[in-house]
């Protein structure tokens, strides 16, 4: 199926700025979905609030655009009722990890079968460039005019610690790897987290003097490296990309079905 067959073209043009990485992420996601062979009717996309969350409106799946930070909680309700459906939950860094941080760690812990995609552009774009929990120490933002003193955390480490059974990182530069990783995440039976590093030239780039959209995409190439590469041993500041965790654990909906059987036997 052509990528455009997954789109609701009547709702275009989209809201994203020129140079934004979200369109590339969307492209990677659709190619991943195509590779899985899933039908449009099999897929539910649930999002929260922010630039990235608007992704759902443009796609011809069952789409649920919810409230800020709570996409995973809504998605859990859908999945529990319809375990046969494939749940994809695109979120921004602020949406997933600031206001939605608690839901995020508990979704990881439960290991419910869905894919959380954290589109990390290190900024609150929709509200105009405030610092996010992933902006990092020393960055500039409209709410950090004297340089940010908040420390960031690492999505991959946190998802791993919280118990996600598939954890990966990809970027908007490495588009083939992005599609491959997302495909594997979607096909994994359990809670999958994929961090996608994606540039926001309009706010993060401008405030932090990172140059043009092209410069920012290029930077994703230079600051990252495949997991376990020799380059990482020589330069510890490089950010690794690839699949960090992939393991089998009891999946929540499957376990719930067993619970129902136990309850029915006992009653």
């Amino acid at each position: 199926m052509a990528v455009k067959d997954y789109l609701r073209e009547k709702f275009f043009p989209h809201i994203w700025c020129p140079g934004c990485g979200h369109g590339i992420t969307l492209n990677g996601l659709l190619r991943a979905i195509e590779s899985t062979g899933l039908k449009k009717n099999d897929i539910v996309m649930v999002s929260g609030i922010g630039c990235s969350s608007r992704i759902v409106g443009y796609l011809d799946f069952h789409t649920l655009h919810t409230i800020h930070g709570r996409a995973l909680a809504f998605a859990i309700g859908v999945k529990m009722s319809r375990p046969d459906l494939t749940l994809l939950v695109p979120m921004g860094d602020g949406d997933a990890l600031s206001i939605g941080g608690n839901h995020f760690i508990h979704a990881c812990r439960r290991n419910i079968d869905m894919t959380a995609i954290v589109m990390n552009n290190k900024v609150y774009g929709m509200t105009g460039g405030q610092y996010s929990p992933l902006s990092g120490y020393g960055t500039m933002a409209t709410t950090a005019p004297y340089s940010n003193i908040d420390q960031e955390f690492d999505v991959v480490s946190m998802a791993t610690a919280a118990g996600a059974t598939f954890v990966a990182r990809a970027t908007a530069y490495h588009v083939n790897q992005l599609a491959d990783v997302l495909q594997e995440a979607i096909q994994h039976k359990g809670f999958s987290v994929v961090e996608v590093m994606t540039p926001c030239p309009t706010y993060f780039g401008r405030k932090n003097k990172e140059g043009s959209a092209v410069d920012m995409i290029e930077k994703l190439k230079t600051i990252t490296t495949p997991i376990g590469s020799k380059a990482k041993q020589e330069n510890a500041s490089l950010i690794e990309r690839g699949i960090f965790v992939k393991k089998e654990m009891p999946e929540y909906c499957t376990e719930y079905q067993k619970l129902v059987e136990r309850a029915m036997k006992g009653s």
């Binding site: 539910v44 799946f61 789409t63 655009h65 409230i67 859990i76 859908v78 009722s81 839901h103």
Partner: protein, 382 residues
């Protein structure tokens, strides 16, 4: 649940009624004095193939039930004041996206952590206006377990009929008190099932195009029609819209679909109202004490009556105006600083004849408390 005659807490009456109404999915978070509802759901729901989830907080609880409801399930959550505060944004989403759900608030003393184990009726106005933005809401209450059962079934029925959240505003006394409950026979109380679209697969489908009567025949989410659901103002496809005409029409639809059906959703009881010179208006646990006063004073020949409200929102203004028209004194009996009193004053002429008999110290208002206040109102002294 072999016997239909039971001796249970109000919270359990609510659980039994929800199961009777066809509840499929419950998500909640422990909080006094509503916790028994979650505990009993965890026992009974899986036995009938339903699902119970204990979520990480009340916000996740309401969001999860909304997600489940969209797929066609009957859903509920239960909480108390602090949790109800946390649920307000999700509640607004369910209003905007027109998703049926039932939210139980077993009221305790507030504000803040307040009095976790003590009674209050302080959330009446939060139920009405806790959600930001203009909207309409249905909120029901009850004073005894048979009525808790009936109102809970009504809550599901209204929720399905109008595709809206419905709030059950119980209180700690009714929630924790034990008394007799007779479970109605299957089919004895009619159940409303969700209106489904007749639009076939492959035909352009407009999930948010209401019928002329305001009802919305939606396709279950995840079914044959793919559509968008959002908390933003939206067009008939469910796609975000800022078109002033569409915004105006949607807001009017959300308000009118409930406010134009006040009569259908109004539930009340009346005792000796017709010739009452002194008319008490009460609801929930307070109404038990008020009824005690009324039956007692009637035996002494006093012309006193009680209007017990079971639907608090939309406020039944026309009913209250009609029932109070011959009363010399109207006394609102409630356990807050006068939340229903405000609505009664707005509804009734001659507000100078309206008085408040209340108690706000975490203790159930007693018949003696009410009698003392009535004597003051009548100029008899205490």
């Amino acid at each position: 649940m072999a016997s239909r005659l039971t001796f249970v807490q109000g919270n359990e009456a609510c659980v039994r009624a929800a199961l009777y109404a066809g509840l499929d999915f419950f998500a909640g978070y422990p909080i006094t004095p509503s916790t028994e509802i979650a505990e009993l759901m965890s026992v009974h729901l899986p036995r009938k193939g339903g699902k119970f989830m204990q979520m990480e907080d009340e916000i996740a609880s309401i969001c999860a039930i909304i997600g489940a409801s969209l797929t066609g399930q009957k859903v509920m959550t239960a909480t108390s004041g602090p949790g109800f505060s946390l649920m307000q944004e999700g509640l607004g989403y369910a209003i905007m996206a027109e998703i049926p759900c039932v939210i139980v608030d077993v009221q305790r003393g507030g504000p803040s952590t307040g009095l976790p184990t003590k009674v209050s009726q302080g959330d009446v106005n939060q139920a009405r206006w806790g959600v930001h933005g203009d909207h309409a809401i249905i909120a029901l209450t009850a004073s005894n377990h048979q009525d808790v059962f009936a109102m809970t079934v009504d809550a599901f029925n209204f929720s399905e009929t109008y595709r809206t959240p419905v709030i059950l505003l119980f209180d700690e006394v009714v929630g924790h008190m034990r008394e007799r409950l007779e479970i109605p026979k299957s089919g004895e109380i009619p159940l409303v099932e969700r209106l489904k679209t007749s639009v076939r697969e492959g035909v352009d489908y407009h999930p948010y195009l209401p019928r002329e009567d305001g009802r919305l025949p939606m396709s279950d989410f995840g079914g044959v029609h793919r559509y968008n659901v959002t908390g933003l103002f939206h067009d008939m496809w469910g796609f975000p819209s800022e078109n002033p005409r569409e915004v105006h029409d949607l807001l009017r639809h959300l308000v009118d679909k409930i406010d134009s059906h006040v009569d259908e959703v109004t539930r009340y009881k009346e005792y000796y109202v017709d010739d009452a010179e002194m008319l008490l208006i009460s609801y929930g646990a307070s109404a038990r004490s008020a009824l005690h006063v009324v039956t007692d004073r009637r035996q002494h020949g006093e012309r006193i009556g009680l209007l017990e409200l079971q639907t608090l929102w939309p406020f039944p203004s026309a009913l209250v105006r009609e029932k109070t028209k011959n009363a010399r004194y109207v006394v609102v009996v409630e356990m807050n600083m006068g939340q229903v009193l405000q609505s009664v004053k707005l509804a009734v002429g001659n507000p100078e004849r309206i008085f408040l008999a209340n108690r706000v110290d975490g203790v159930l208002i007693t018949p003696a408390d009410i009698r003392n206040i009535l004597r003051l109102i009548q100029g008899k002294g205490v």
